[in-house]
């Protein structure tokens, strides 16, 4: 009985590797396709890539979006928890900037000082003032996803940053990591919670609740890419800006007429 493992035999054994890699290489993608295609109602996540536009010049600060978001997504009622909120910026002539968001702007905003014209508040003349709706920016390079130790928050195939509520351990790392303050810890489940672009609505062909109720179309929803959506039109026609571009998070919430003072 020969104990030698000669070159001929060795090469013959090595020939088995290429087919093995091919087989394994096929199994992976097939499994992936099966998981992706198994979605109900023929919704194909790989065919969509969602984003939102916010036209600051149209926002009237009525707070309907905040109300609708809370109702639609069962967000805790306390004035601390918001998936979306509206901020009011007041820039005075002396350069001071005042930002407020009483109850997230949900019940609208109180008049500043007295409603005089030209506008004067706190004895100072207002240079400019406007409302800025804010929400999760659904970053293309999301810092919250990077820091999650268990993989409970992720960017889905259609570009929406989601939270896996059943798998989240409530460590709050993502809340710390988000530069936009878009996340909170749900006091009932002790898991991270955030805007999902109303994922349950957009996958059924509906608009997110905040976009649905926005009376002035200050919020525009749609997709990035070839598909013709209101967002694509807005992006083509306007000068776009994003929040905190220097953070390199590549946000997918695009603002028009965004003032330099907005943080």
């Amino acid at each position: 009985m020969s104990q030698t493992y000669d070159r001929r035999k060795f090469l013959a054994e090595m020939l088995k590797f290429p087919p093995a890699t091919i087989v394994l290489g096929v199994i992976g993608p097939v499994k992936l396709l099966a998981a992706a295609g198994a979605d109900e109602d023929g919704y194909e996540p790989t065919e969509h890539y969602y984003a939102m536009g916010i036209r600051v010049e149209e926002c009237i600060g009525c707070g309907k979006c905040v109300q609708a978001c809370k109702l639609e997504n069962d967000v805790p009622e306390e004035p601390f928890y918001f998936r979306t909120w509206v901020e009011r910026y007041i820039v005075y002539t002396d350069g001071e900037v005042q930002v407020d968001s009483p109850n997230g702007g949900m019940e609208g905003f109180p008049p500043v000082a007295d409603d005089t014209f030209p506008p004067v508040a706190a004895g100072k003349e207002i240079l400019r003032t406007f409302f800025v709706p804010k929400l999760c920016n659904h970053c293309d390079n999301p810092p919250c996803v990077q820091v999650c130790p268990v993989g409970a928050t992720f960017k889905s195939q259609d570009g929406v940053v989601l939270v896996d509520e059943d798998y989240c351990i409530g460590c709050r790392y993502c809340i710390q990591a988000c530069p936009y303050g878009a996340r909170f810890l749900d006091p009932r489940t002790h898991t991270a919670n955030k805007c999902t672009f109303c994922y349950h609505r957009i996958t059924k062909g509906l608009l997110p609740a905040c976009v649905e109720v926005c009376p002035t179309q200050a919020r525009v929803f749609g997709e990035i890419g070839d598909r013709s959506t209101p967002l694509n039109r807005m992006m083509r026609m306007s000068h776009l800006e994003v929040l905190k571009p220097h953070m390199n998070t590549e946000p997918k919430v695009y603002y028009t007429a965004l003032d330099g003072e907005v943080r």
Binding site: Q3, L71, E72, I90, P111
Partner: protein, 279 residues
């Protein structure tokens, strides 16, 4: 204790040695067999733990549970979208979509309507009443964009519901002012709480219709003599029982003797007609 733990490994080693020896091969060194057994145990252990701790669909689509996507998508919408409303209320939607409110979705004012769409008779959506629902958007705030229609609520027909002049589904402002209070608001408010409340402005002021269009060119008339007030308030006067649909017989009208009361003064030098204090 330690030996007892190692016993299975020693046994296995003896068995492998016997087996390899039986085949007549060169003997495998003991250290290699021991290491092999440990590696095998660790490998199996890791495999079992991975099976146990990594959730089922984890890694299917990326570094997350694939099932979480479906869980996020499984929620039921509460806002049904205006297209759903148009199925049963096409007239309202059609009117609205041609008006200034064309961008306002039904549910922006009426609240979430999914429940209503599913059980139309049982669960009714909100019916906004009063001024507050409209003022949420149309109250004057400095920060609102220029050109957006806004009102200062204290000055714009206070107390009256917006819907008494504007149709919420087609809110074009009325071309012609309908009420005197639209301009003469302070007077209207005083009169509303005075004994003269049931009297229309036209009872005392003869206003040409053009006054509402060109207020300064067509000025309404004012009473100019004591006898005008006397038609109701003189002792011997018999005021008409019905003035413009108001039954005056239910009121106790204060009477005076025109010849002795107030001398040569006219009534409005002492009494403010829109809120006459003397009873």
């Amino acid at each position: 204790m330690f030996k007892a733990l190692l016993k299975p490994i020693t046994d296995l080693r003896a068995w492998i040695r016997g087996w390899s020896g039986g085949l007549g091969r060169r003997k495998i060194p003991t250290q290699i067999i021991q290491l092999g057994v440990i590696f095998l145990a660790v490998g199996v252990g890791m495999f079992v733990m991975r099976q146990k701790f990594v959730p089922e669909t984890f890694g299917d689509l990326g570094h997350y549970r694939g099932a979480a996507v479906a869980a996020n998508a499984a929620l039921e919408p509460r806002y049904s979208g205006w297209q759903e409303c148009a199925i049963c209320h096409p007239d309202k939607v059609e009117t609205k979509n041609k008006s200034f409110h064309r961008t306002v979705s039904c549910e922006a004012c009426h609240g979430p309507a999914s429940d209503h769409a599913n059980r139309p008779m049982r669960l009714r959506p909100e019916l906004p009443v009063g001024r507050e629902p409209c003022l949420a958007c149309h109250r004057y705030l400095v920060s609102r964009p220029t050109g957006f229609p806004q009102v200062i609520e204290e000055r714009h027909n206070p107390v009256r519901a917006c819907t008494s002049c504007h149709d919420a589904h087609d809110p074009t402002p009325p071309e012609r002012i309908q009420e005197c209070s639209a301009c003469h608001n302070t007077i209207a408010r005083s009169k509303a709480v005075s004994p003269h409340a049931p009297l229309d402005c036209e009872v005392c002021h003869e206003a040409p219709a053009e006054h509402k269009v060109q207020p300064r060119a067509h000025v309404p008339k004012k009473p100019f003599e004591r006898e005008f007030c006397g038609t109701c308030h003189a002792r011997e006067a018999t005021p008409p029982e019905l003035i413009r649909g108001v039954d005056l017989t239910v009121y106790e009208i204060p009477r005076i003797d025109l010849t002795t009361h107030g001398g040569t003064f006219v009534c409005w030098q002492c009494h403010y007609q829109h809120s006459p204090e003397a009873r």
